[in-house]
Amino acid sequence: MTNLLSIHTIRFIVLLLIQVLLLSHVNFLGNINPYPYILFVLLFPVKNNRLIFILLSFLLGLLIDMFLDSGGIHAAATVTIAFIRPAALKFSFGAVYEHNAIKFGNVDFGQRITYITILVLIHHFILFLLEIFNFSKIFLVLKNTLFSSIFTILLCVLITIIFGGTNKK
């Protein structure tokens, strides 16, 4: 249990620092940045206290907002995907999730990509909607969502493959 706790604490801090010091300065093709800090939310244990999980996600988003001076957009997006994660889990893993037996290290690759894609798309859509905050620029929102999502999904899949060994419970 302490082992699991320390893994998630370290992951929280490392993802936060990598995000604010490195990945928010990528600015690929002008303004495309990946946001793989949400891996913390994606890889949080399935058996959890949902209240603590939602609070932790909110805290992570708020810290990112503090570093990037972005108001509360990351907090809003992160807390939303933390709330709807059970639905995404049920949709992507089906019966396995019902038995609470998911180990992210050994699920089917296709299912894992579906799961990551759903949550990343929702997160980025809310993020850019709140950042641009203007319904007349909805195409800019969709464009940013699409490009950033591709970048984030690629990075998330790569990170889960490379560090897959440590994710096993």
Partner: protein, 272 residues
């Protein structure tokens, strides 16, 4: 009563989610209104310290370019200094040297951003260096933004690349003035609106600050006109300006304090 408690207990996750979402959306809305208190900002001990440490490492790799920029600035200032008339008489005390209106403080950008629609910079000077809200920030090449929040050692700057900021600017050759706003598209160009149709505008014209606000002195360079057209009502020009500053690489900046800002504000307030 029992039922209310039961309801809260049953839906506690959902209620917590709604509460947190509400808080974060409120913070977002707050940050979109110009100069309202941004509760969560990076001018604090934790994020300021971390950015400072990271910047002290990365600035090393940009030393060459920054030195070149500073040298150019020095060259320009020296040419002004030696081309003006000198007062050779050392006994003579020029009383106009006292009570200068503008005070400059050098600072370093420890976090720069230009990719979002609301860009904020972080400087390594704060209350301890008597930096306060609404001071102007310029670089050797031109205008950067306005100080927004300060703490003891750090200050956040509302960049001109921010859709909520608005700065008064004018054409260099005529006194027609308008306001600078950014449409969020490219970090090199910014938009000048409200220049009346009667003004003569041409591509390549220089735009400078107008000095109509208490923040920037008159004559700080902004950029050159790259494109212009009349707006829908055909009364005002909408002008695209290419900035002199490369907003994607700024390191050394100067903070301008207008010592008369308080007085000007008070007079304006009395008139309202």
């Amino acid at each position: 009563m029992q039922q209310i408690v039961n309801f809260i207990l049953r839906n506690k996750t959902f209620l917590l989610f709604v509460l947190l979402l509400f808080v974060s959306v409120m913070l977002t809305i707050q940050s979109h209104s110009y100069h309202r208190s941004r509760f969560i900002n990076s001018a604090n001990f934790l994020s300021g310290g971390i950015y400072n440490a990271s910047n002290s490492m990365s600035e090393f790799f940009d030393l060459k370019n920054q030195n070149k920029l500073l040298q150019e600035d020095n060259k320009r200032l020296k040419s002004i200094l030696y081309n003006t008339k000198q007062t050779p008489d050392t006994n003579y005390i020029d009383s106009t040297n006292y009570n200068k209106k503008y005070k400059f403080t050098a600072a370093q950008v420890i976090r720069n951003s230009y990719a979002t629609t609301n860009n904020i910079l972080l400087l390594n000077k704060g209350d301890n260096d008597s930096i306060k809200q609404d001071f102007g920030v310029v670089s050797s090449k031109g205008i950067i933004g306005i100080v927004e929040k300060t703490n003891r050692n750090y200050a956040t700057v509302l960049s001109i690349l921010n859709t909520t900021s608005s700065i008064s600017a004018k054409l260099k050759k005529t006194p027609h003035f308008g306001s600078l706003k950014w449409n969020g598209n490219s970090p090199n160009t910014i938009q000048l609106s409200e220049i009346p149709k009667i003004a003569t505008v041409a591509k390549g014209d220089t735009i400078i600050t107008s000095g109509r606000s208490a923040i920037f002195p008159k004559g700080i360079p902004v950029g050159t006109i790259s494109n212009f057209k009349l707006d829908n009502a055909e009364n005002y020009y909408e002008i695209d300006i290419v900035l002199f500053n490369d907003m994607t690489s700024i390191e050394h900046v100067y903070i301008i304090e207008n010592k008369d800002a308080k007085i000007i504000e008070n007079i304006l307030k009395d008139n309202d």
